[in-house]
């Protein structure tokens, strides 16, 4: 008896939907083993991770707040990945967007600048994120440099640049030497949706981005172009589509969305620019994109799920002293299982019972 992995005649739409759920199931099994090894009660840990955050309104809002940047970045990344362009540097584009938008906030601080400040911040952040993403895209198209490496390396450049600004020129003079800018003025802050709550306008923007992406991919020729360039590059060229133009375009769009997410995070929940504004949103969004099947609606759901793991991780740390890094382990394992389960969309397992053993060595 042997287990055979064989190709399906046609991709399985059922598995395409179920695969993320199988992956989540396998991840939870693995986490139970991990919790047991750590000496924690696995059931309590799972409760802290997945149930407790859903039981109070504050946590629910917090999940939406955390999901906002994840979803926005992941939508952009999904466009890249569908077109076979591997943008791994969304974290950097997120930080550059945050820095560029903050520049307006810092420069208008304490002046009587009007309502134009926030839209200007959002616009500049998106443009800067796009430009920053164009560096690896152009290197790829012009020189054939691997966009995976260049986009990833630019994350650290952005990270250190932000660090320099908040420790040097932009440091709040009244901030007791902490590496942070002053709190942004109200005109430079993303408005809240619920008075006294956490939910802010950014979540609405994220929903609009999801809807726009769904229309783009499902209904327009440009979306078709993105899908066909990734799925069958030679056929795409035969169809008259230019893969290099699409690399530029998808990198620019995903950079813009990451930059926008960056400034929304800084001008929203954080309120000022400081190091550590992102718990790795740009990287976690890669998992969100794949867990969501590179599909806008799927990404929305996956984004909420991964936001849950961030909140759950914090609760587990407070309640059970489980290290916060376990959240990252969880996310890594999840990506691993998602990619593994995806092979079942095009392949299937079958048990094979070959006829009785034949004597070898005859002849």
């Amino acid at each position: 008896m042997q287990l055979v992995l064989e190709k399906r005649a046609e991709r399985s739409d059922t598995i395409a939907l179920v695969s993320p759920l199988i992956a989540i199931g396998l991840t939870i099994v693995t986490m139970v083993i991990l919790f047991a090894i750590l000496g924690k009660n696995p059931l309590l840990a799972l409760h802290a991770y997945f149930i407790a955050p859903l039981t109070d309104g504050y946590s629910l809002q917090e999940i939406a707040v955390k999901a906002t940047p994840l979803v926005m970045i992941a939508i952009g990344l999904s466009l890249c990945y569908l077109a076979n362009a591997w943008n791994i540097g969304a974290e950097g584009q997120f930080l550059i967007g945050a820095v560029a938008g903050s520049w307006i906030a810092v420069k208008t601080q304490g002046t009587d600048a009007g309502a134009w400040v926030l839209p200007a911040m959002l616009g500049l952040a998106a443009a800067s994120g796009a430009l920053y993403a164009l560096i690896p895209a152009i290197c790829k198209v012009k020189f054939g440099a691997s966009e995976i490496l260049t986009s990833l390396m630019l994350v650290y450049v952005a990270d250190l640049f932000l660090d320099y600004l908040v420790r040097g020129p932009w440091r709040d003079p009244h901030g007791f030497n902490f590496p942070t800018t002053a709190e942004f003025d109200p005109v430079a802050t993303v408005p809240l949706l619920i008075e006294g709550g956490r939910l802010h306008l950014g979540s609405i923007i994220a929903l609009l981005v999801v809807a726009a992406a769904a229309i783009l991919l499902g209904r327009t020729i440009k979306g078709f172009e993105i899908r066909v360039v990734g799925a069958a590059p030679r056929a795409a060229r035969f169809g008259g589509f230019n893969a290099n133009q699409l690399i530029i375009l998808t990198f620019a769009v995903s950079g813009a969305l990451a930059g926008l997410a960056g400034i929304i995070e800084v001008a929203g929940p954080v309120g000022h620019l400081q190091p550590g504004i992102s718990p790795g949103y740009g990287f976690t969004a890669i998992i969100v994109a794949f867990l969501g099947r590179l599909n806008p609606l799927g990404i929305l759901i996956a984004g909420l799920f991964l936001a849950l793991t961030f909140i759950g991780g914090e609760q587990a740390q407070i309640a059970m002293k489980i290290p916060l890094d376990v959240t990252k382990v969880f996310q890594g394992i999840l990506l691993f299982y998602v990619l593994a389960c995806d092979s079942l969309i095009l392949y299937r397992f079958r048990l094979e019972f070959p006829n009785r053993q034949v004597a070898r060595g005859a002849g």
Binding site: R11, K222, R227, V228, R234, F238, G239, R360, G363
Partner: protein, 529 residues
Amino acid sequence: MQAHQRMLDPTPNGQHSGKSPLLRTIGLTKRYGDFIANDCIDIEIWPREIHALLGENGAGKSTLVKAIYGLIQPSAGEIHWQGHRIALSGPSEARSRGIGMVFQHFSLFDNLTVAENVALGLDGKESFKDMSARLEQVSKTYGLPLNPRREVWQLSVGERQRIEIVRALMQDPKFLILDEPTAVLTPQEADQLFIVLERLKAEGRAILYISHKLEEVKRLCDTATILRGGRKVETCNPRLETAASLARMMVGGEVKEVKAASGRKTTVPRLVVNDLSLAPAEAHGVRLEHISFELKGGEIFGIAGVAGNGQDELFAALSGERLAKDPGTVLIEGIAAGHLSITQRRKLGAAFVPEERLGHGTAPRMKLSENALLTGHAASGMVHRGFIDTAATLRTVDRATETFDVRKAKRDPEAASLSGGNLQKFIVGREILRNPAVLVVSQPTWGVDAGAAAVIRQALLDLATAGAAVLVTSQDLDELAEIADRIAVMFHGKLSAPLSARDASREKLGLLMGGSSLEPKEIAHAAGA
């Protein structure tokens, strides 16, 4: 031949009197999921026999030989070798038992020499020097000249095949499998190969010869086993059959004759190529040199030639997948198009069908409607202000299905789920439904069953009758003879002067395909035709 005994004992393993087949399969079955590729196949191969394996694409020929060569494990059934039941763990075991195979698609490294390539395929117990010497000797003995020190990329397709054959012969096989060996050869090269095969047979070896060229099989083979739909239909002596009776067994019915409408009128030039030269896009690619021809409406122009002589490069230059520097090198409907993209050329009325169905002509994992959009987005009213008209794309699928008898499991399946013949009918149909002024088609019936091939050839003839200019690149000389009005041959990136189809005998085309030029008077005659 000191250490290596070339002449085989015709009665191996001490079975002196009792004649037993060299190889025998009993009820050999291979299943892939629900699909049965081989259904209970019994076949016997005797020493000193050239045994043809005939069948259409998808009949199960490749599956059967892969099982015999140990590349796949049968799901059921037995393989007997020299009278003993065996189970092959893999090709290396098959080779060590004396079973050799020459594949249709070569597995050679372009940047290595002939000797290095052969060494990689052997089990490597002798020194490289000894192996090279033996290589030269084997190639000389069998009249398969090869220079061991040349790099593969410099060699012609025929020479590359020689490497594969010599590599197999160096293991002194008792039984050699050849998968469509003449598909890539000129008629003259094929004749040389037959001499080698006859000689191997005289030495007592057995040969399993996969082909669908019936005349060839009648001439060369002692026995023929015909497969259809995964089952064995018949084992017969091909010399006692006619090509038509063999074809009936392969197809399971009569093959439709293709008919050209009489009195096709030749009108204005619709596709003109003027002194087109193009450097190769990739290393070891073919440089197109000074290609010129003129193609009028109502005409089918055939380009023959061994694969890899620049046909792919010419297709890319005509379609606009590669652009020429000088716009005037390609004229579509009288408009300079050398610098235009494939989309712009389509808007001028050109349509293209590439050789590779999956991955080039279609995106394999996308639906047929999406694949209709792939080439139809520019000029077929499928896109309005950037938005896709899904109903219009589905209409194209339905019309192609109806007009060209595309058989599929549901209305709009993935391209990859169709059989080769049905997908090719869809692709050709998709382009013809756009009413092109110019159709450039490469290997229109490559790997397609006889029924689909007839539909496609008829469609090309009908399109020409309706006034379009049709350019067909094909390695199948019979196909070109059937549909083309004029035929030219491509060799090393150059295009010969066209011959009228009446004058284009196999011999003349074969000489051109091998790079020889015809006598001046013949060209003059052809030009006047």
